[in-house]
Symmetry: C2
Subunit: 561 residues, 2 copies
Amino acid sequence: MNINRLINAAQEKELPDLVLKNAKIVNVFTGEIISGDIAVTDGIIVGIGEYNGKNEKNISGKYVVPGFVNAHVHVESSMITPPVYSVEELKWGTTTIITDPHEIVNVGGCVALANILDVAKKCPTNYYVMLPSCVPATPFEHSGGVLNADDLVKFKNDECTLGLGEMMNVPGVLNCDSSVIDKLNAFSDMVIDGHSPMVSGKELNAYVCSGVKTDHESVTYEEAAEKLRCAMAVLVREGSASKNLKAIISGVVKNNIDTSNMAFCTDDKHLADIRKEGTIRFNVKKSVELGLSPIKAIQMATINAARIYGLKNIGAVACGYKADLVVLDDIEKFSVLDVYKDGVPVSEISTDFNAVYDESMLKSVNPAPLKDNSFDIPKKDIYNVIGIVDNQIITENIIMTDEEVRNGLKDGTVRKIAVVERHHATGNSATAYITGYGLKHGAVATTVAHDSHNIIIIGDNDNDMKIAVDELKRVNGGYTIVKDGKVVDTLPLELGGLMSMKSADEFIPLLDRIINTAYEMGVNRNIDPFITLSFMALPVIPKIRITDCGLFDAEKFSFTE
Amino acid sequence: MNINRLINAAQEKELPDLVLKNAKIVNVFTGEIISGDIAVTDGIIVGIGEYNGKNEKNISGKYVVPGFVNAHVHVESSMITPPVYSVEELKWGTTTIITDPHEIVNVGGCVALANILDVAKKCPTNYYVMLPSCVPATPFEHSGGVLNADDLVKFKNDECTLGLGEMMNVPGVLNCDSSVIDKLNAFSDMVIDGHSPMVSGKELNAYVCSGVKTDHESVTYEEAAEKLRCAMAVLVREGSASKNLKAIISGVVKNNIDTSNMAFCTDDKHLADIRKEGTIRFNVKKSVELGLSPIKAIQMATINAARIYGLKNIGAVACGYKADLVVLDDIEKFSVLDVYKDGVPVSEISTDFNAVYDESMLKSVNPAPLKDNSFDIPKKDIYNVIGIVDNQIITENIIMTDEEVRNGLKDGTVRKIAVVERHHATGNSATAYITGYGLKHGAVATTVAHDSHNIIIIGDNDNDMKIAVDELKRVNGGYTIVKDGKVVDTLPLELGGLMSMKSADEFIPLLDRIINTAYEMGVNRNIDPFITLSFMALPVIPKIRITDCGLFDAEKFSFTE
């Protein structure tokens, strides 16, 4: 950055590159709305006032607010690549994304992390990375990568690194597990994101003493308020699955609590939902509908997030700040009229990102060859069967006799579910019974399987299940559906088995198609055929799950049979 | 810091070192007042709630607020050393001091700066340093040290360094002087303090584009509000000479402007004033009297300052924060009952600081030997005479004929004033005439002479003036008064010629005594005999000044005769 050019442009000794004339500017520092022109040079705001520029655009009294910050997001959930995802955010006014590439790093380890940090610099938004703290997520599964404190430290000085990603291992913190403490100590000089659902009282005090600075897991106002009191920045989450905004913001309004240590995030939001309403723009809009003042909502979406994460040149429409701007028709409905990134209208931003992906990330599906008996389940008198619950992420542990299982397999209420290790061809796999999924004459499989992202397969016959695994290996990961011995549809997610290399416009109809195909094959319409499946391998959520190591009782925190 | 101990103490797996029972805690994040105990281990707050501790103290329902932050202070103005000054601040609840050692570094250059950073670590408060950006302050004088960008960069990584000190050279910034730009660029990743009295409009925009983040020079609400809008943190100053708080805070209250980017400072406050009312505690009290909510005032004094300067573990009574606490009887009059630093009551803090000062700092008064004609002024028809204005820092430029001067010298209205270079024995000196000071049969001299701190002497005869210079050389700097060929009183300021090595209790009566002696010798009682004198060498303040290089017209910004 050439500050001489900025200093000269601010004084009109040189004409600014761009002047947005006649704006109503929301000033996040004073809480005022100021009328004036916005002068920009080299992508930086150099003046607010009356300016002439080389290029001028009349904003005609519309509102201009700082570009929004999505303070915590897993881009992998969108199933498109970081640059492609960034464009989707940008259209709705998000100009800064703070990501935790937890999923892809569980697949590709340090190589994936280095790759994401490289790609971050090619994204059209500001793209910051919190280094994943929990790879693998638990000791009960085999992930592709393993990152200890020493591995993470190597990435600390990257210009896109802001700190350590969400520390999900709360028991590890509270018990001072040395591998956890090593990571916390290594990042004590940076922001450490928390993940502490329902942690309270002295345990919350202890968790915060470890150095954790943020939390995005509050679901009630009371939980959020306790965390705020405890010095945590509260990131109010409104995603596709977790919708916490109404409860928290209603409480904030009712109690008139200070919002200066609060920001907004989505955590996980699906592409279709983003296309419908945006991300942080939607959080802001909904907060204002709930009675929060537009100024406070905009502060949460901008300068508060910037302060929480130590970002010094974003989050305000003010001199010296990046010209990341959202032009709005109003500050009630937050209709986005235009977005500028570094002073460039989003419509003019090139989508030729030149992002390069490591070969290993594009060839990440490497299961050992399956055997004839890979999906056999030893005969027993009594089985623990995973019970899917409609519209929920939790499962039931259903006790069934051998006869009940046989009958269920016949009448379609019981299916086999298997997890096959796919990173290092270890040959590790486990198979169990599951209810509540539906599906007839075939198999559904995906390489998206939280958090280790092994191959997870559900089916009513072993042959189709094997074909599904082979198909996912062939296409380097994704979603697939097999029927009567033939692949009927596949959605490749060739980047780590998690993300498509396609554009969003190409990707969305393919995703819709394969989901519909699954429903047509009898999958329960009260669940998402793939997302529900992808959560069956997450060992931290009650009551019973399956990993490549076996059936797991998430309440007893141990394997079962 | 051993976070395992903190995590365990928070859960009472180990008893906390200290528990303050039954406090009313001001929570700066939520703006609430919370009743509870405060648990401390290793000087860090580990819990708020119900706790038992190895040591317990009942606060009995008194208020506990975070230790205050003095966001901008020149400790040299107190004329006592940094650790001794820190104790004075501490007694009134200031636990963090952000200093700019501009004065001492103008005397001692890099050696002095290194010395102050070393001493900072021995101070009983948190003692942070902004590296002086303007040494020398102007090109019109000879200071002891010269610091360019390369010199400053060497001190960037010191744990006590927060950034670059107040950039007073506004014209240098606006004109992109390369030496100024080099310094700004070198500190673009840290906080850069501003100093922009009455700078406004496009010039203010340009100044902010240079990377400056704070300002403490606003004297009206309108000036402060413009700077806030312009992304500057406004440090509301209430010192001994500059009292800006009433004007600014009254406006803040009237306009209900957001205070989150505002903090408090004193800039320069004399020891006697501090002893009477404290520093930041006084700013808080006065703000509340003016109608600001106690919570907002406390936030400005604590967490806001911490955020502005990127200090992560101070400014809140919350887990993981330093146990820097002020116990108050109320939050209206802010009567300080007790102060804790790192969990230790101020009464128990050792005053054996083990601060070591560089020998060169204790032998900093090295003028060349004076000649018989050193204080001669060539005869002219017309003279520019410095006119002291009662109770003001500005001067008048009084045009006097030779006859008027002769008569003035006789009737006591005109005196000689001289500046003698004292750092490197260059022999540089200048002498001029001055009115408005008073003084009969003697000389008054000081090595405190802003900003280069050469020896400044005023007198009615050359002999006493010479004796005064010799005396200041003999005692390694300070204040002195000579009468009829004899030294009648001297106050040594042996640290750089600016600060006394004595305790505050020893120092104060000696200071009072020498000031009274000056008045008894006829010095105008509407000025301070020494402070007024010390500002006569400051070439940036209108209208006319004297440096070791000559008489200076501060309006034309050039030397005169």
